[in-house]
């Protein structure tokens, strides 16, 4: 398949793996944080770790849109569907995330709430058009990748006068999250999280461009390589990152040049700027309250803001005690460090968001990689590398 197979070729993966093995100094360790869940997914699904020398380690970052949404916002969404009788439209990934007392959208749906899984904001608009007597709320989550389609939907609803449509906005910003991680005591002072550099987001960067990473590459002296989501992209980017570390550089490099430019998608950015503005602060699961890290709907589109349209109650939301999702999202702990991992928490019965989304680190460990920790048949270690 064109534009896919080229980036999964096993002959090239062997060559790149050999180049990484040559480049990585055996007397030190390289800690590469892949920010995005998309990278985490690719690393596990294709077995990229098997191609790495032992001293190159991936630290999984918080870039999983489902994982970083705090429980309270999910509880709010459940309340919208159950308490306000709206048709709640959600992306599929969100459906099984457990809220307070393990209450998820899928359970609320089973109990009679009208919750519909949609593939795009356009589906939500269609549902609103088809149900003029019902309030239809789109549960908007995600980073800069999913924000422009939400902006378009709100503008369309405004143009059509679709007064029964609104958006529960939970869109968050990548650069703010990366900066927050770099400023955390675990990275700055305590040394509990070692990060030598970042594999930068691919789809997010297609929208925002490579420029926004410039600041913290310089400020925190950490190299960033914007990397595509295909496994060869991950290998190539890791090689570029190791070279930067070895040469003492801390630049923003772009491996994903087939999609990402320095400026990004200017049209998408202007659509987002028209509809959204910065929130003064937003709570993230794992990272806590992060200033200027999320978006809210501008006053000009206030009537499409579900938070203003419905009186959402204050509630005492609670995560499952001893779920390590927050520490895992900061890269402080690995999924296997969590007591719940694989015992009470599995994809069949997730206790935390990281076990639900395929982009979550726990789900990736469990679904693709648990043979590494449970033993079983002896695994392939390094493939034979020719040339």
């Amino acid at each position: 398949m064109k534009y896919v197979d080229e980036y999964r070729r096993s002959d090239l993966s062997g060559k790149l793996a050999a180049a990484i093995a040559r480049e990585a100094h055996p007397d030190r360790t390289y800690h590469v944080m892949e920010f995005c869940g998309g990278h985490t997914h690719a690393i596990f699904r294709y077995g990229v770790q098997d191609l790495m020398p032992g001293n190159v380690r991936f630290v999984h970052g918080p870039g999983c849109p489902v994982c970083v949404l705090p429980v309270r916002r999910l509880d709010d969404a459940v309340e919208l569907a159950e308490g306000h009788g709206v048709i709640l439209c959600s992306y599929g990934d969100m459906m099984r995330v457990p809220g307070t007392k393990q209450r998820s959208l899928i359970r609320a749906k089973a109990d009679g709430a009208d919750i519909r899984m949609v593939y795009s904001t356009q589906d939500a608009l269609r549902i609103a058009r088809e149900n003029p007597s019902r309030e239809v709320v789109f549960f908007a989550i995600g980073f800069e990748t999913t924000t422009p389609p939400t902006a378009v939907a709100i503008r369309q609803a405004a143009a059509e006068g679709l007064s029964n449509f609104s958006v529960f906005c939970n869109h968050v910003l990548t650069p703010a999250a990366i900066q927050h991680i770099l400023q955390s005591p675990e990275v700055r002072n305590l040394g509990t999280v070692l990060i030598d550099g970042f594999l930068g987001p691919s789809h997010v960067s297609s929208v925002i461009g490579s420029e926004p990473y410039q600041f913290f590459a310089e400020e925190f002296q950490k190299p960033v390589v914007i990397a595509g989501f295909e496994p060869l992209d991950v290998l190539q980017s890791t090689l570029m990152l190791i070279r930067q570390v070895n040469e003492g550089r801390h630049e923003v490099e772009n491996e994903y040049t087939r999609v990402v430019t320095r400026e990004g998608n200017v049209k998408a950015q202007s659509l987002v700027a028209d509809v959204f503005e910065l929130r003064a602060s937003f709570e993230w699961r794992g990272l806590g309250t992060v200033p200027y890290s999320a978006l809210k709907i501008r006053d000009g589109y206030a009537e499409f803001d579900a938070e203003r349209r419905f009186a959402i109650s204050e509630k005492a939301s609670r995560e499952v005690k001893s779920c390590e999702c927050p520490a895992i999202l900061r890269g402080v702990k690995k999924p296997t460090d969590c007591k719940l991992f694989g015992t009470v928490c599995t994809p069949d019965n997730p206790m935390g968001s990281c076990m639900v989304s395929s982009e979550g680190a726990c789900a990736a460990y469990w679904t693709y990689g648990r043979f590494r920790s449970v033993g079983g048949e002896v695994r392939t270690v390094m493939p034979e590398v020719a040339g």
Partner: protein
């Protein structure tokens, strides 16, 4: 006014509650739709049950409910699917299917023309498979309490002497074969789902596999496991076998047959083809000595043209299915928790 006018035609060509009421309307429906298409001596006797001679050998029975949406899809419909699905379950026991029963739950308001199309498709599928539908049942539920039509079929078949096939019989070092490309059915269905429609030439692979199975059993006495990877796809079925047999498996991703357009659709939808349903494919596990002979027979059959050796059975106390990826690494091929949900970014 005769009965036909008051029932099937007089009500705008749709099924209504009287068709399930046990009265004349129901009798007319059975006669004009079901019996007309499915006619055979046992069914036509019109009794409450089917009277059949007991064949020699061991009997196999299997039942399957069919609730597919949409009811008509590229390459088939719920009618032929209900025949193939159950026949295949019987065939996967190494059996020759003989008879089917069919139970219909029809939603009030369902178009009679659609019902007739479905029943005709069932009749065609059963005829082609050489199997008779010998008894059945019809119920009508109120509008909103069904989804058009649900069909449950039960199959009866007979296993010849010496054939020992079962999901618990896989042993380490045996070879895993697959009869053809994966994911065709699931993607054909998805391509017609509301809100997801896309243009494609992918059609469902729905087919009755007992002919292929008969050819295979003849040449490979060591055949230990047969199973059709339907719901949950290849991944779920291999995990089932691994657990039943207390073994592990090692697959080669590059050996698994996959159509380019199915692969493209999966990429687009964020799905893994290993988990997408099939309705006309089978997994076979046999000794290494029989593998090549079995593959040759499979490839000679129209339903096994793309058959391939996709992996081996291993000794593994954790019963894990592992796969060497096309990329050169190793990953687990796990069960799926519920439905496959598309990723967000």
């Amino acid at each position: 006014m005769n009965i036909m006018e008051t029932t099937t035609q007089g009500r705008a060509g749709a099924v209504d509650m009287t068709h399930g009421g046990g009265g004349r309307a129901m009798v007319e429906l059975i006669r004009n739709v079901f019996q007309r298409h499915l006619s055979n001596a046992i069914l036509d006797a019109g009794n409450d049950g089917a009277l059949i001679d007991v064949p020699r050998g061991r009997l196999v029975m299997s039942t399957d409910g069919h609730v597919v949406s949409p009811l008509f899809f590229p390459g088939g419909d719920i009618g032929c699917l209900a025949v193939h699905g159950t026949l295949n379950d019987v065939a996967m026991m190494g059996a020759r299917p003989l008879y089917l029963t069919a139970g219909f739950i029809i939603e009030e308001g369902f178009a009679l023309a659609d019902l007739e199309r479905i029943v005709a498709s069932m009749a065609r599928a059963a005829r082609e498979a050489g199997v008779a539908i010998v008894t059945g049942d019809t119920k009508v539920v109120e509008k909103g309490k069904g989804d058009g039509v649900f069909i449950t079929t039960t199959g009866l078949g007979v296993v010849a002497e010496g054939v020992e096939v079962g999901g618990d019989r896989a042993r380490p070092e045996q070879v895993i074969l697959l009869s053809g490309t994966i994911g065709d059915h699931g993607i054909a269905i998805l391509s017609k789902r509301e809100s997801l429609e896309f243009e494609t030439e992918i059609i469902s692979d729905t087919a009755a596999l007992h002919g292929l199975v008969a050819d295979m059993i003849e040449v490979a006495p060591s055949l230990s496991v047969l199973r059709d990877p339907t719901r949950g796809g290849l991944a779920a079925t291999l995990n089932e076998i691994a657990h039943q047999s207390h073994v592990g498996m090692r697959l080669e991703e590059s050996a698994i047959p996959l159509r380019a357009d199915v692969k493209a659709a999966c990429e687009l939808l964020g799905l893994d083809p290993l988990y997408v349903a099939n309705e006309g494919k089978l997994i076979a596990i046999c000794n290494e000595d029989d593998a090549e002979r079995l593959l040759a027979v499979m490839r000679a059959h129209p339903l096994g043209r793309d058959a391939a050796r996709i992996g081996v059975v291993t000794a593994d106390v954790n019963n894990l299915v592992q796969m060497r990826t096309g990329f050169g690494g190793t990953r687990l091929v796990d069960w799926l928790a519920g439905e496959q949900l598309p990723r967000i970014c």
